[in-house]
Amino acid sequence: MASFDLIQQLCQCELFSGLSKEEVLGLSAHCRIRHLRRNEVLFHATDPANFVYVVLFGSVKIFRSNKDGKERIMHFLMQGELFGAAVALKGGVYPVTASGLEHTSLIEIAAPVFKSMFMKHPVVGQTLASQMAERVRESQNDRIAIFDTVEKRIAVFLIDLLGQSCKRFGPTTRIPIPLTRQDIADRVGTTVETVIRTLSNWSKENLIIAENKQLDIPHIQDFCRRIGVDQVS
């Protein structure tokens, strides 16, 4: 991608909204655009945390593998989200693995450059802190969800994802990322067969519209009432 495009993309990022044109130009010299295919690994857990990433287009999954090699997805990241930043600030290795959930484009920033921006521009720290706080909340909720029924876990996950999407991009009924049944199973900690059965039941009840990897929840309040959960903020 030409350097003009990179500068344009940097300018459009909420994260860099506090930077002057000169600073964006300076930053662009230390960034590049990376493209990922579905399931292509960007970094593995225990790789040195040398770069910080921002999702430009597409989506990324962040996961850990257990001792048997089974994946547990911790977070799905959407357009505009930053990752790898906190660990790059403190130094060390990535604690998780990141891969593309679909064809995805990212901005890659060298860790020392990001750190200097963080120290100089409060807006960078605020954006990062807000996104990190959201992920802590998500993981802490997962701790409790482990004891819920699988149906509730899947529902809460989808409602939460839709809530995040509405907060970020405005009102919608569509889950903004393409999820396979396996992705959902790896996120909520169940089998793909259970996810297939659950989504199929909800489709028959007209609670969701599931086509290929796209999921719609047309009437979120009806859905929440049927499952017996609060609408997650």
Binding site: P122, R137, F147
Partner: protein, 176 residues
């Protein structure tokens, strides 16, 4: 927090409580919800008479904006919290209740333990069996049974809510 101890817990959709962390002198509470501009997502309750200092939102953000080094420390703290929460999700999915019990005792020893004469560590925090169950995601009955097993093996000594770890290595071998 100036002194004492607090527990932070959340309630699941089934009404089950889960203690997400304990806090003692020097710990910071509530900052995550301020940062994400959301209501508090956990309840903080005193378990050992505590004294806390309140910092209002405006002052908090003002200090944070003017002090990048402090902002950096906050990020490290958030990073640790995220890591702990993710570890816990993996632990509950992978580890047996016995392993989680051993890990909890070792964590409490790291945070609140003090060496005693003749070897071993006294845990300077008194938790009910129910609170321990809420921390490792099990039932009170299972905690009572596991502690009783550890006591009969001479790994811990228990007087009421007070626990002393006598054989730390045995606990470590349970989780390794």
């Amino acid at each position: 927090m100036f002194s004492g101890k607090l527990k932070l817990y959340k309630t699941g959709v089934n009404g089950r409580l889960q203690i997400v962390r304990l806090a003692s002198a020097g710990d910071l509470l509530g900052y995550r919800s301020l940062i994400s501009d959301e209501p508090y997502s956990a309840t903080a309750e005193v378990i050992d008479e505590a004294m806390v200092c309140f910092i209002d939102k405006t002052t908090f953000f003002d200090v944070l904006r003017r002090n990048p080094q402090l902002a950096l420390e906050m990020m490290k703290k958030l990073c640790r919290e995220l890591r702990e929460a993710e570890d816990h999700v993996m632990d509950v999915a992978q580890k047996s209740t016995r392993e989680r019990m051993a890990a909890l005792l070792l964590t409490l020893k790291e945070a609140y333990g003090s060496p005693i004469l003749g070897g071993g560590f006294s845990l300077g925090i008194e938790l009910s069996r129910e609170e321990m169950a809420e921390m490792i995601g099990t039932t009170q009955e299972t905690v009572i049974r596991l502690l009783s097993e550890l006591r009969s093996q001479g790994v811990v000594e228990i007087v009421g809510r007070s626990i002393t770890i006598l054989k730390e290595k045995n606990l470590q071998s349970l989780i390794s």
